[in-house]
């Protein structure tokens, strides 16, 4: 299943919200008492006009529905911002936008 994402970019700021359970593999199911298997985003990459500005390795310690916001120098209106992500099960997602 593709990783769903939302993105906003502008004024030197990039914000990315993913929809993902971010299970670290340590939590137990309340009913069955069984461990819930690990399922979290491991890699995310953000590029501006093809140049990677953030290359992240993430652990299961990132909260459910991972949110990132960061500031990039020199981003201009119309710059193409692309985000890609991949989780530990091989599911991928990507989204792109133009900086406002």
């Amino acid at each position: 299943m593709a990783i769903a994402m939302r993105i906003r970019a502008g004024n030197g700021d990039i914000r990315v919200l993913m929809t993902h359970p971010s299970e670290n593999g340590l939590r137990k199911d309340a009913k069955s008492g069984q461990l819930i298997p690990a399922h979290f985003v491991r890699n995310m990459s953000v590029s501006v006009n093809g140049k990677i500005v953030l290359d992240g390795q993430l652990g299961g310690g990132i909260s459910k529905d991972p949110y990132h916001s960061f500031k990039v120098r020199g981003m201009k209106t119309g710059d193409k911002v692309v985000v890609t992500a991949e989780d530990n099960t091989g599911d991928k997602g990507s989204i792109e936008t133009s900086a406002s």
Partner: protein
């Protein structure tokens, strides 16, 4: 004569072993871009995780501020901001020092403009630590967060 030959053979063998060890060390995961450093992310101690990403021995710096709530009622969602005035930031690592797996995230950055924020889980009251690599040097800062309900399961 014979002794010299033995010595030579022995030193050649140990030199070979060292070379192999170095090669193995250089091939550790995490040195490859876009890879995932499984040793670092599965380390149970913050110091081990930092060693695995080559970020041990960072200097405490007043130029990094870790912003997080003093008290987190829900450890599953703790907003964390890393704000720094350090120039030439190359990477930022974020750790929940007493989490089952302390390393939460490691970001390699370019054209970074001093602000990064995310939301992390915390199992218990602990320091959130940021380690920033800037200009080839390591700097660090922490912020203690009191957690009333943990967010790491168990």
């Amino acid at each position: 004569m014979d002794t010299t030959r033995r010595l030579l053979l022995r030193s050649a063998a140990s030199a070979g072993l060292i070379a192999t060890a170095v090669a193995a060390g250089l091939l550790k995961p995490g040195r490859v871009l876009a890879d995932w450093n499984s040793a670092a992310f599965s380390a149970a101690k913050a110091a081990d995780a930092l060693a695995a990403i080559g970020a041990s021995g960072a200097t405490p710096s007043p130029d990094i501020v870790v912003k997080a709530p003093d008290i987190a009622e829900n450890g599953a969602v703790v907003p964390v901001e890393v704000v720094t005035t350090l120039p030439d930031v190359e990477s930022i690592a974020i750790l929940g020092e007493k989490n089952p797996f302390p390393l939460v995230a490691l970001y390699t950055l370019s054209d970074f403009d001093g602000f990064l924020s995310t939301r992390i889980k915390m199992g218990q009251t602990a320091n959130v630590r940021a380690v920033v690599k800037a200009g080839g040097k390591l700097y660090t800062a922490t912020k203690e967060v009191k957690v009333t309900v943990g967010g790491c399961g168990g």
